[in-house]
Symmetry: C6
Subunit: 77 residues, 6 copies
Amino acid sequence: MSLFDDLIPTLITDTPAQGRELAIMMARKTIATLQPDADARASLRDDYANDTEQLLAAGHIVAVEFQTIAAANNYWR
Amino acid sequence: MSLFDDLIPTLITDTPAQGRELAIMMARKTIATLQPDADARASLRDDYANDTEQLLAAGHIVAVEFQTIAAANNYWR
Amino acid sequence: MSLFDDLIPTLITDTPAQGRELAIMMARKTIATLQPDADARASLRDDYANDTEQLLAAGHIVAVEFQTIAAANNYWR
Amino acid sequence: MSLFDDLIPTLITDTPAQGRELAIMMARKTIATLQPDADARASLRDDYANDTEQLLAAGHIVAVEFQTIAAANNYWR
Amino acid sequence: MSLFDDLIPTLITDTPAQGRELAIMMARKTIATLQPDADARASLRDDYANDTEQLLAAGHIVAVEFQTIAAANNYWR
Amino acid sequence: MSLFDDLIPTLITDTPAQGRELAIMMARKTIATLQPDADARASLRDDYANDTEQLLAAGHIVAVEFQTIAAANNYWR
């Protein structure tokens, strides 16, 4: 059993929009895995959401995850 | 329903130029999703647009999104 | 013989969730290879887990490793 | 109509060299789109061209854009 | 003749583990090429191995090199 | 005519080693294009070669360029 079983049962989505949501979720859950302390994450969140450099870093991760998901879905062609 | 439904109905575009616009839009909307407070974003925008490091970080994200979109469109060959 | 033999016998996994776990493990083991001193790593871990920039950097690596693993598994289609 | 119509009518080029030029131009035009004020860009340019970290960041973007263009051209094989 | 001839005669490896070793070696040798002075590298190594940001940067490079090697080996399927 | 014509007549190389050399050269020439003043580059070089963060950034670019070249050569299989 994996803690990701419920989160990522599949990379296949009906639409690009749902693929985008999945990309954002995957990026977030990885951070939660790397820093499992919820309080620590909460205190870090303020730094992050008000620092454009970090928002850009997060946006970059989402772009990479989405690249994977889009390929998995054959780009929803 | 996904908040991206209206934004990214498809990755297919008629031209490379439209693909580039989509890449920029996708990058922007991710940031807006990560920092949903419009006032916070507005105050962050000044930092960002006048800091070459951050402009480069944003340009990098656009390049990655465009890579996905270009593949989706079979490179408009 | 390679020190990775036991860690990465294969890139093939049954599910996306297991692929995600593998991605995280691979990212971690690389760092352990680059800094083999366990005490040094332990003292570095605090910096890392409480610094959103570094958590994002780690999340980015996981996204890249997962991209490889997902392709290896033909995206678990 | 897109502001990129004249800039990127196609990703197809005759040679790798022209593909490289296109990659550099695409990277530059994205920055111009993100910071449309020419005076602001001019004042930022000094920072950028004399800061190796930023030159490297720009070189990285060019490498990613070129990856897309090279794939589009089937690597000019 | 290339100084890499002995280092990278092929990208093909028997196992994913050997591919991982090759990825790490390739990343290291590139740095050695960019800074050929061994003493300078030795003095830089302390900075690097005790700085999580730099360990993460190195881990990121290994992930990218591994992506190439994994594709070359058709993912050892 | 393009200033890259002599530098990158083709992405095809006989060996992985030559592909690696090409990747390094391409990364270097891009920087030279972005900062064409040779004196400025010379003064920047010291910063760069003695700063592990920047060496890593350069190594990352080489990894991305090599990924493109390796694909172009069908991984020298």
